[in-house]
């Protein structure tokens, strides 16, 4: 089997418009969550989110692109540009024919749905823009990346709610490992911070009105974020032969289904996914130094995830570090695993563990080292990135230092 490495990374999210800005914010434990600036916010009971600030599409895209790119596609294109610039690859000939793009998103063009429903239902218009369908479709971002960079191999979009990005990156990993492709562009994107997007989430009553405080006894729910992170996954020999800078190795991946409840998480399902990823990577549990938690800040997720970690790691659970960066960038739903992979790369490459900020009170049901409030220096050789979706679909990636 081939080995798979990461040779490019890019992002835009509430913490910054690039990987450097995002990692700087994570090192400083800065919070990107604030008051939402969206239309009709006064009719929402949830008014905070990890919104991308200081972003104007006109600075990045021409008029025709804007008419085709929903906000989730715009974020994808910006993150992909950074990742592909870093990788420094040209896609031509046989290489282009085999290289593809697999992305994750839960909702796709939610802003486009929202704006156009508003137009026909609320404003009573009987006509919408001709590009509504190609703009809102979940695969729009993957297709535009494919077109822009001439990626002609296996390309598609994965939608598994909050695990979408991890499932997408797992597919890209499998394809390179199996020898189907030498290079895959992968990651995910989400942009649900609009009236309809938040209103739908309000209904479940799992959102916090004030902050995302994962693992803290006084946590009171999740906070949504938005943005994208995109990576270039490359076959190891291919990357080494061209002298590429290797950010980390993608060593293993596992996915499980709880087969139990549409919203409540399962300790067994989460544990099986983590154990599966470790075994797939050929690692022992004791080698994992850091876990980027799913850590949503809901009562149910955090205690279930900690119990699953205890099941998988036994006594080593007390030695490893586990943090949730959602406390800083919010929950990017289908894009979240991609942004969180950046914290994993930082841990392996820079020896800096991103903190769980907003941590105020220890919870006996989350009695692990959650790296509270301040980043920490630590050398780790292998890490996990957890994603556990509504619907009970779990996807965990294992990364190793390059």
């Amino acid at each position: 089997m081939k080995r798979v490495v990461i040779t490019g990374a890019g992002t835009i999210n509430a913490l910054g418009h690039s990987v450097d800005e995002t990692l700087a914010a994570m090192r400083e434990g800065r919070c990107g969550i604030g008051e939402l600036d969206i239309r009709d916010v006064e009719r929402l009971s949830i008014r905070i989110g990890g919104q991308v600030r200081g972003f104007s599409p006109e600075e990045h895209f021409n008029r025709q692109q804007i008419s085709l790119f929903d906000r989730f596609t715009q974020f994808t294109m910006i993150a992909a540009q950074e990742a592909l610039d870093q990788a420094g690859l040209d896609f031509t000939g046989e290489m282009a024919a085999r290289a593809g793009v697999v992305l994750g998103t839960a909702g796709g063009g939610v802003n486009t749905w929202d704006e156009n429903y508003r137009s026909v239902y609320e404003e009573g218009k009987n006509r919408v823009h001709p590009f509504v369908v190609p703009k809102l479709m979940n695969n729009a971002a993957a297709s535009h990346v494919s077109m822009r960079w001439n990626l002609k191999g296996p390309s598609f979009t994965v939608a598994t709610a909050c695990a979408s990005s991890n499932h997408a990156m797992g597919q890209a990993f499998h394809m390179i490992r199996a020898g189907m492709s030498d290079v895959m562009v992968t990651g995910g994107s989400e942009s649900m911070l609009c009236f309809g997007g938040i209103k739908a989430w309000e209904g479940l009553r799992v959102m916090s009105k004030d902050a995302c405080r994962p693992f803290s006894a006084n946590r009171n729910g999740m906070v949504q974020g938005e943005g994208a992170a995109i990576f270039v996954f490359e076959e190891r020999e291919h990357a080494s032969a061209r002298g590429a800078d290797i950010l980390a190795e993608v060593a293993g991946f596992a996915m499980t289904s709880d087969a139990s409840d549409i919203v409540m998480p399962s300790r067994q399902g989460a544990a099986r996914a983590m154990a599966g990823a470790i075994a797939d990577a050929g690692l022992a549990p004791g080698q994992i130094g850091y876990i980027n938690a799913h850590g949503t800040g809901t009562a149910a997720n955090d205690k279930t995830e900690c119990a699953a970690v205890a099941d998988v790691f036994g006594a080593h659970a007390d030695d490893l570090m586990i943090s949730s960066t959602k406390s800083m960038h919010g929950h990017l739903i289908g894009g979240t695993g991609a942004v969180e992979l950046l914290a994993c790369i930082m841990a392996l490459r820079d020896g800096i563990i991103a903190p769980t900020i907003g941590y105020q009170e220890p919870d006996p049901e989350c009695a692990l080292d959650v790296v509270p409030n301040q980043a920490r220096q630590a050398r780790v050789d292998a890490v996990l990135s957890n994603a556990f979706a509504f619907g009970g679909l779990n996807a965990v990636l294992a990364l190793r230092r390059a």
Binding site: S45, G203, L204, R205, V206, R219, N220, G221, T298, A299
Partner: protein, 88 residues
């Protein structure tokens, strides 16, 4: 008014529990009635719609909510209070 509130709540809870309103009694908990967390959230939504009120309830901290969901009786009391407040 009070009886009307109770009657509507019994009907809502009975529907969630797949029982007849006559099978519901004030001292029962939702747990005893077989209503899980999703059923609770749906019941609260139905209550908001029936009485045109906003119910302050966060599933992450049910104990801290001003809206006490311990028993059928506590729900009736909480709804009566909200109806009175939000009509004022």
């Amino acid at each position: 008014m009070a009886e009307d509130v109770q009657e509507k709540i019994f009907a809502i809870i009975a529907e969630q529990a797949v029982l007849e309103p006559a099978d519901i009694s004030m001292e029962q908990s939702l747990d005893e009635l077989g209503i899980d967390s999703l059923g609770l959230v749906e019941s609260i939504f139905a209550i908001e719609e029936a009485f045109d009120i906003d119910v302050p309830f966060n599933a992450n901290e049910p104990g801290k909510s001003e809206f006490d969901v311990t028993t059928v009786a506590s729900i009736v009391t909480a709804v009566e209070k909200l109806v009175a407040e939000q009509a004022a």
